[in-house]
């Protein structure tokens, strides 16, 4: 009896295994050429609710006007990680799509493990007319986002988001404060105190998701650096000073909130917190739900210092291997980076356009920005954008997690900023060795 059962489970196991093997084989289709047009694949991560419709629209419009190229858009679930895994499988099968979206945190991984061609190289080889397209249309600091740690230009930034300060104008007015919001972090602290005194509401909330994006903006704008030459350096004098301000607002002044992301944004929407520092990607949620006069202003600076804002989002990279496909890939990318397409992309997703001239152009976002004042803050602060630091190597994510753990300790008042940051920096450097 038992042996029969064993046999069956073995057979069923074998069946399952072969079934899995078959299914992955059968999904592969030949995608070389369709008639005279070159067929290329564009891999993206935008689900229906996250700009997927805009992707379809753009691809359809491109296919209608292009005489040489037919693009097939392919959605990859589970965001940039999912796309990376699928790309791995495809590469193992000796194939590759032509254009892919690569999230910033996978920039180094992508450039170390996959074969890609820098867009400028394709342009230099085949499109002499476009040789200055990238230089003319993109800010240098924005292009730097898509450079790997060796300084190679891997791709071109496509989806960008930056942190902005959302303010509850009605509440600021009630407290007798400047309705245009604070300009500096010191002012943020002052404003919060006044709000707490005058209205009894909380002054400030800084987003606390499972990453250190906003923390980086706070620290680096004060002159600290998360990483210098592959070593963590955030526990510098400037870094500690910056973190101290946030910790003081929470633990000493008791004017700022220490809450998970959703609850924090909720409290802002409810009108219980006057200012919230979070990503521009939350704009539509906030705009649609608030019942007061809301505005978004540029990220606060530190007095006398320049802001440094990490960018969230992704870039486009060319993974096509044959020359013909590479040519088509650039043709498609150039279309995506046109003013009109960029404007559509921003409207459909809420990302900030990475190239210049989109904001002011009549066929770009001019009308849209007049209606959506809140986007302006994010568009205007593009010159302060810097790469989002990812700790290098296999232990990078673990290092990121250590910094998150410290955030809870510091903001929960369990350790001092000085002690917390210094010991974490040491631990991280131990890991990165």
């Amino acid at each position: 009896m038992k042996s029969f059962l064993k046999l069956f489970s073995l057979i069923s196991l074998a069946f399952v295994l072969t079934a899995c093997g078959n299914s992955s084989d059968s999904t592969d289709k030949d995608s070389s050429s369709k008639g005279e047009k070159t067929v290329i694949e564009y891999w993206h991560v935008n689900a229906e609710t996250q700009g997927g419709k805009t992707v379809e629209e753009l691809v359809k419009a491109f296919n209608e006007q292009s005489e040489t190229t037919e693009v097939v858009a392919k959605y990859n679930p589970d965001m940039y990680k999912g796309l990376m895994q699928n790309l791995q499988a495809e590469a193992a099968a000796g194939k590759s799509p032509a254009v892919v979206q690569v999230g910033w945190s996978f920039l180094d991984y992508f450039s170390n493990n996959f074969s890609y061609i820098s867009p400028q190289e394709v342009i230099d080889q085949h499109f002499k007319d476009d040789s200055t397209f990238i230089k003319d249309n993109f800010l240098e600091n924005v292009m730097d986002l898509a450079k790997n740690s060796e300084g190679t230009q891997v791709g071109i930034p496509y989806s960008l988001s930056t942190p902005v300060l959302y303010i509850n104008r009605s509440l600021l007015k009630e407290a007798g404060l400047n309705e245009n919001g604070p300009q500096t972090w010191q002012e943020v602290q002052e404003f919060s105190k006044v709000i707490k005194e005058k209205t009894g509401k909380h002054g400030f909330y800084m987003q606390e998701p499972a990453d250190n994006w906003a923390t980086q903006a706070l620290l680096e704008s004060n002159g600290a650096r998360m990483l210098t030459d592959g070593k963590a350096t955030f526990a510098s004098k400037d870094g500690i000073e910056a973190y101290q301000l946030l910790a003081d607002m929470i633990n000493k002044d008791k004017t700022a909130l220490h809450l998970p992301w959703d609850q924090g944004v909720q409290s802002f929407i409810d009108g219980n917190v006057a200012m919230a520092y979070t990503t521009i990607a939350r704009r539509s949620q906030i705009q649609q739900n608030v019942k007061f006069d809301v505005a978004a202003v540029k990220s606060p600076a530190w007095e006398g210092k320049e802001v440094r804002l990490p960018a969230g989002g992704a870039m486009l990279a060319i993974t096509a291997q044959e020359e013909k496909q590479q040519k088509s890939a650039w043709e498609f990318m150039k279309y995506l980076y046109s003013v009109e397409s960029m404007a559509k992309w921003t409207e459909g997703t809420g990302y900030v356009p990475p190239r210049k001239d989109v904001a002011e152009a009549e066929n770009g976002l001019k009308a849209y920005l007049e209606e959506n004042e809140m986007m302006k803050a994010a568009v205007e602060q593009m010159d302060g954008v810097v790469p989002w630091t990812s700790f290098p190597g296999d232990a990078g994510l673990q290092a990121e997690q250590l910094l998150l753990d410290t955030r809870d300790e510091i903001l929960g008042g369990k350790v001092s900023v000085d002690e917390g940051l210094k010991s974490t920096e040491e631990e991280i450097n131990q890991l990165l060795k």
């Binding site: 069956f8 489970s9 069923s12 399952v16 997690q401």
Partner: protein
């Protein structure tokens, strides 16, 4: 000779039919239980990040890492705290409720039954999002009501201990109803004559509960006890994922969430697999202990 052969043939035919009918279940089990389990054991000996094409064999290093990580012990501590809380909220209290509803209350029984069961049919993700709002310590309705009485709601989502209590409460919102109905059915099935006799003899209610109801519904009680522990821990995953992501500093992570966190947030699959296997070992030990010491004293009516 002929007759014997015929029966043999029929037997094997019947057997084949039986196994044939078992195949779909076996397939599903193999696909969703045995294979992942075997694969997890396999992964626990490798260093891998889910994307790399090569897995590096590291022997028992993952187990050594997990066992020397102080967070592991914190997480297991949390796990047991969750178990204790869930046993109180989702096993003891529904037991008492079911008893009261069946034997003490006279009116509105159906209303209570429905009201208590209702939350079980609502998705826990929806519930968690709802409770994030209801229990928002700054602007949620509970905070506002507490404010009227001059009580300031603690920022539970960022405080050790509190966070586990609240997440257990949110989970119980989902699990309570089902456990309650199962226990109610069992208590309802106890012969009325015994209870009426006890009542005539003026046996106090607490004695009826402990000396009659508890032993006679013990079989169901054990079932509820075990699913509370096992399922409760899985259900807790949802509010942890939605509300705290294991924070602050792992104070709300349980073993199952932590395994998820290691694998799908940090991409340390080896670590995660080792942790899962250790968790599994602990639970198997618990189950063996349960069968040895608790099950023996349980009375099965049928």
């Amino acid at each position: 000779m002929h007759a014997v052969k015929a029966t043999n043939k029929r037997m094997s035919k019947e057997q084949w039919l039986a196994y044939g009918l078992l195949i779909p279940t076996l397939l599903i089990f193999a696909l969703f239980m045995f294979w992942p389990f075997v694969y997890t054991i396999y992964l626990s000996f490798f260093d891998w990040n889910m994307v790399k094409p090569t897995k590096e064999f590291v022997g028992f290093q993952n187990y050594i890492d997990v066992l020397s990580d102080p967070n592991t012990y914190k997480v297991f501590g949390n796990t047991f705290l969750y178990i204790v809380l869930l046993l109180i909220i989702n096993c003891s209290i529904p037991y008492v409720f079911a008893f009261i509803l069946d034997l003490v209350l006279k009116r509105y029984k159906n209303f209570y039954k429905g009201a208590m069961f209702l939350p079980s049919v609502i998705s826990l993700v929806v519930g968690s999002i709802l409770f994030t709002w209801i229990l928002n310590p700054v602007s949620g309705p509970v905070a506002i009501i507490l404010d009227w009485f001059g009580v300031e709601m603690p920022i539970w989502s960022k405080m050790d201990g509190w966070v586990i209590v609240v997440l257990s409460l949110i989970t119980s919102w989902k699990v309570f109803g089902y456990n309650f109905i199962v226990l109610y059915a069992s208590i309802n099935g106890i012969s009325r004559e015994i209870i009426e006799a006890a009542k005539l003899d003026r046996v106090p209610l607490w004695k009826i509960f402990f000396h009659i109801v508890l032993p006679m519904s013990g079989a169901t009680g054990i079932y509820v006890l075990i699913i509370t522990i096992v399922q409760g821990l899985q259900y807790v995953f949802t509010p942890i994922k939605v509300i705290t992501q294991g924070g602050p500093n792992y104070a709300s992570a349980n073993a199952i969430y932590h395994a998820y966190h290691e694998a799908f947030v940090l991409y340390r699959t080896g670590h995660s697999a080792a942790l899962s296997i250790l968790t599994m070992a602990i639970f198997i030990t618990l189950l063996i202990l349960e069968f040895k010491f608790v099950e023996r004293g349980v009375h099965y009516e049928n």
